[in-house]
Subunit: 302 residues, 2 copies
């Protein structure tokens, strides 16, 4: 088995409700819509890739309870290889309740991290990494991350890092020399570099290791920088009705890596990623509206 | 197979989080504790009975999704017979997110009813009802309720009705002539009778059919009335630390029926039910702290 991309991160389960009011005090309300959906940045990026037709696998440590089973079975249904999931008996996986106010999409997120132990370096399936073109990480399961990045480098596998909004941690600096592609939320890049200026922050990230740096800025699009000195802005695609932007960034990551794995030029990868991220905002939940390749191509031809 | 009690009602799944704040506006917060638990008044009463060692079964129409599977497997794990659960393919079961403020236990409940169809009279397992001593209902799956109550009467099976707080519906009047035991929340009894006076409301309920009427009043205990003219107050038991009163009423119902099925006198049943309900407030979720028979007996001997 060969994989385009293997992800290493934390998978979660989100229970998402649309509501009239965010409940500031005791109340009982009936939700409009309700969906249960797998989440987690790396996990959603893998599902994005699988939906597009890429071969993917996920490395994670999950609980043996209902949430763990849900995570595993959703991956299996999406075609993400689950051979690298380590199941911790008697433990529960990470889950969240997400209330989305209908009026304006404001979200109240309550999460519970679960108690499955971190994935250890010994739990990382080296054979899966060696069988992949790209390894995608976001710093969760830190020791396993470092180990996996080393394995990837030794095997000539590209390393991709997701710098998530509000997830900057100074220890991430030590992995960046191993990273080839870093796609970061604006907030992450700013925290890393100590400046809101996107070009300066990207320069600092490039100096730390990666040869490609992308900074995403929500509806304002994304900016791509590389060692080769290319730099361009990719605008966000418009969709008729944005229902939920959860997972837009994760979809962008997955789709960008799809482009790289398929040998697209940077501009083409960014445009493609932007279309996929926009399409993913059409429905409630981080994954419900992830497009197939045909849907993206249709959008890009318009 | 013989059953002590068979329940007919709607089973739900609750995802319960303890939180510092109820989220009146956009926010991300980490929960203290988190539990996933089956709920629904009749369903929790059946689990109460099973925990005590009684033979029980549940009649319901559930979804084929994650929530439906959770419901079924939790019943199976508790020893509640699932042969009377009708599974609706492609449908989802009822679920809720419950945020419980740590400081004072104030609850923000967001629920989504699911789209499994009602249980129909044709879907009711007559053989299970005929094999039981008591049928327990709360008016959900209305047509199936009426049908089940008729079957029970014909077979000499006692009929028990749960009058839940905020669940009074005038159509319930038509089933009361078939009901032997009605245990109602104070709020239900008041809505039924148009008076806050417990004795008057109980009298009105007794006149509508049941030979035993119990009105529960939370921490203020419960009052028992019967055609034989007995009437007494049962005080609530105290527990050292009340964590969550969800399901106290359901536990009371289940335990009261346990007493009746075992031939306890009314006073003994009420005392027993009161102990079980109090014990059930010790942990988060409607079922987590349901006691075994040994635990209740230990409490009653103190
Ligand atoms: N409202 C939107 N409409 C269209 N495209 C969007 C929208 N929001 C985000 N996107 C696309 O998704 C990309 C990533 O979004 P963003 O910068 O918000 O990522 P993020 O902070 O990692 O998001 P998340 O954590 O919610 O996944 C943007 O560069 C843009 O292309
Ligand atoms: N805080 C408490 N401490 C001890 N016992 C309690 C407490 N709250 C309820 N109980 C017991 O449970 C019984 C039923 O409670 P209550 O009247 O609140 O039922 P309910 O409204 O049907 O509750 P729920 O819908 O939450 O299950 C009471 O009569 C009492 O015996």
């Amino acid at each position: 088995m060969r994989f385009d991309v293997v992800g290493l991160g934390v998978s979660t389960v989100d229970l998402i409700f649309t509501v009239d009011q965010l409940p500031g005090s005791e109340m009982v309300q009936r939700a409009g819509e309700c969906v249960i959906a797998g989440g987690g940045p790396v996990a959603t990026a893998m599902v994005t890739l699988a939906r597009l037709g890429a071969a993917t696998a996920m490395l994670d440590s999950i609980g043996s309870d209902f949430f763990g089973s849900f995570i595993r079975s959703e991956f299996a249904a999406e075609g993400v290889d689950t051979g690298g999931l380590v199941v911790a008996p008697g433990r529960t996986s990470s889950k969240a309740s997400i209330l989305v106010r209908k009026e304006d999409g404001a979200r109240a997120i309550t999460f519970s991290p679960g108690d499955a132990p971190e994935l250890t370096p010994g739990g990382v399936r080296a054979d899966i990494i060696r069988a992949s073109k790209i390894l995608h990480l976001n710093g969760r399961h830190w020791d396993a991350c470092l180990h996996a990045a080393r394995l990837a480098k030794e095997a000539g596998v590209l390393v991709s890092f997701d710098g998530g909004a509000h997830r900057y941690d100074p220890q991430h600096r030590s992995i960046l020399p191993q990273v080839d592609i870093c796609i970061a939320a604006h907030n992450y890049a700013a925290a890393f570099a100590g400046t809101e200026d996107v070009a300066q922050a990207a320069k600092a990230l490039l100096e730390a290791g990666p040869r490609i740096v992308v900074v995403t800025q929500g509806a304002a699009g994304s900016r791509v920088f590389s060692h080769e000195g290319e730099a361009f802005h990719q605008q966000a695609y418009r969709v008729d009705r944005v229902v939920d932007t959860t997972g837009a960034g994760d979809a962008y990551h997955g789709a960008f890596l799809y482009g790289l794995a398929r040998g697209f030029a940077l501009e083409e990868s960014a445009r493609f990623a932007s279309a996929v991220a926009a399409l993913n905002t059409r429905a409630l939940g981080g994954r419900a509206a992830l497009p197939t390749l045909v849907e993206v191509e249709t959008m890009l031809q318009q």
